[in-house]
């Protein structure tokens, strides 16, 4: 039952997005613009600052992710369909997980474009260890989206939701951004040290477990009142 509701919500979000492509276009356009601006500002005479690529990649993911989160729930607000989801006899955490997976999928798709772009513009060997990079990006994206999905759902009826979402989201996801940046930067070092990667990955996994659990636990009471 839980998995069926997750699948229904995810499939519905996917169908709606494929029809409009509104969030995909705005998210990808914003993320690419962000990377280009940083590239123009920081890359001088063909040389990028050391470690800059990892930072720019995660800044673009965080900013684009915030945009995607806001738009995803704005869509549910327009016809009050979030209320309709909450009225269904489905487990409410399943609705949260469905929305979370949709946002994670969208951000991962954006990252597929961002990674080669950042690697090219900042001449960074991001694709040398693709498995490790994918793991860091996946765990980091889940952590960021887990907190963001909960806050975006909570704020859906708040008048100043566009302002409040980043104000609430960024301070709490600072550990994810730091771990993501440091983990990605470690992958760019000429001498690969698995111990460092393991450390940052462990931090990301811990964050994911804690915040997904907290969100599953608090989603129903937060959305009911």
């Amino acid at each position: 039952m839980f998995a069926r509701i997750v699948w229904l919500v995810l499939r519905k979000d996917f169908t709606v997005e494929v029809r409009s492509l509104e969030i995909a276009y705005t998210t990808v356009f914003f993320a690419i613009s962000c990377v280009l601006v940083f590239a123009f500002a920081l890359v001088q005479e063909g040389r990028a600052p050391e470690g800059g690529a990892a930072g720019i990649l995660w800044v673009a993911i965080a900013f684009a992710g915030t945009l995607a989160l806001g738009r995803t729930f704005e869509r549910e607000r327009q016809s009050d369909t979030l209320r309709a989801l909450l009225l269904a006899p489905a487990a409410r955490p399943a609705i949260y997980v469905g929305k979370l997976l949709g946002i994670v999928a969208l951000l991962l798709a954006a990252e597929l474009l961002l990674v080669p772009l950042v690697a090219f513009l900042f001449q960074a060997p991001l694709l040398v260890r693709p498995g490790w990079l994918a793991t860091v990006l996946l765990t980091g994206t889940i952590g960021f989206a887990a907190v963001g999905t909960l806050f975006a759902a909570m704020l859906v009826r708040a008048r100043s939701r566009d302002v409040l979402l980043p104000v609430l989201l960024y301070p709490i996801t600072v550990p994810v951004i730091i771990a993501g940046v440091r983990g990605t930067a470690a992958l760019l070092q000429p001498e690969f040290d698995p111990g460092i990667i393991h450390f940052w990955l462990a931090l990301l996994v811990c964050f994911d477990v804690v915040f997904v659990t907290l969100a599953l636990w608090t989603f129903e009471p937060l959305m009911t009142d």
Binding site: M1, R4, I5, L8, K12, T15, V16, R19, S20, Q78, S79, D80, T81, R83, A84, L85, L86, L87, A88, P89, A90, A91, T224, D225
Partner: protein, 246 residues
């Protein structure tokens, strides 16, 4: 789904911070009843509907659905409740059929496709089933939204201003549908401003003002005079029915 034949609201209050939206409201409704919630804007009608829909918990008091309490039987109780809000709860990017199949799936309806087709027939939208809802008129959306709310055959139907924006033909069709539901034994709770519709459809009505239940009207023919009398009191808020002489 939990079957129930009565809805009992007992001394329910709801506060938002220091603001009192509902204050010690009590009433009951049995199967095959259309109960009206009347009152000016801000009277507490939508808050009461949200409490009945289990979206809001009462600050005090209880709502009982047959022998069941909302707090104890959340999801299984929601399976017996249908809600048509002022917003229609439809995804404009999806087709009529996709909307119905999505909600039928959420409500664990056994044969999703058959239920969606039956709902489309009932709404008179079978020939537009695969068109996007974004291209529908207000009346078409309203009919579709009502069938969406009924797709799981609820025992309790909660309607918030369902006649808003409908032309006469659509309003008459919606009225006929509600009467059919009443004959089928459903409990219908309808918030409206329209005294013409209220007189025609309601079996009983409660009048709310500033969160308080100020009158229960058991005779529809007396509704207009009772309502006008209440609203003409000095502290009455303004702006409601098109037939109240305003």
């Amino acid at each position: 789904m939990i079957p129930f034949d009565t809805l009992v609201v007992d001394d329910v209050s709801r506060h938002f911070g220091r603001r009192r939206a509902l204050s010690r409201v009590s009433f009951h409704a049995g199967r095959g009843t259309i109960l009206g919630l009347l009152g000016p804007n801000g009277a507490g009608k939508s808050t009461l509907l949200a409490v009945l829909a289990t979206l809001l918990r009462p600050s005090s008091g209880t709502v009982r659905y047959g022998g069941h309490d909302a707090t104890a039987r959340g999801a299984s109780l929601r399976a017996a409740i249908g809600v048509l809000g002022h917003d229609l709860f439809l995804y404009p990017e999806l087709t009529a059929r996709e909307n119905l199949e999505f909600f039928a799936g959420l409500y664990a309806v056994r044969d999703v496709r058959a239920a969606a087709q039956e709902a489309l027939d009932q709404a008179g939208l079978a020939d537009r089933a695969d068109d996007g809802v974004a291209g529908f008129s207000r009346g078409m959306r309203q009919r579709l939204a009502l069938e969406r709310a009924l797709i799981h055959r609820p025992r309790l139907l909660l309607l918030d201003e369902p006649f808003t924006g409908l032309d006469d033909a659509s309003a008459a069709a919606l009225g006929r549908r509600l009467l059919t539901l009443r004959e089928g034994g459903a409990i219908v709770v309808l918030a409206t401003h329209d005294l013409d519709i209220a007189e025609r459809l309601l079996d009983r009505a409660i009048v709310l003002r500033e969160g308080r239940l100020v009158e229960t009207v058991d005779r529809p023919e007396a509704l207009r005079s009772v309502y006008r009398s209440i609203m003409s009191r000095p502290d009455a808020a303004s702006g409601f029915s098109r037939t109240d002489g305003a």
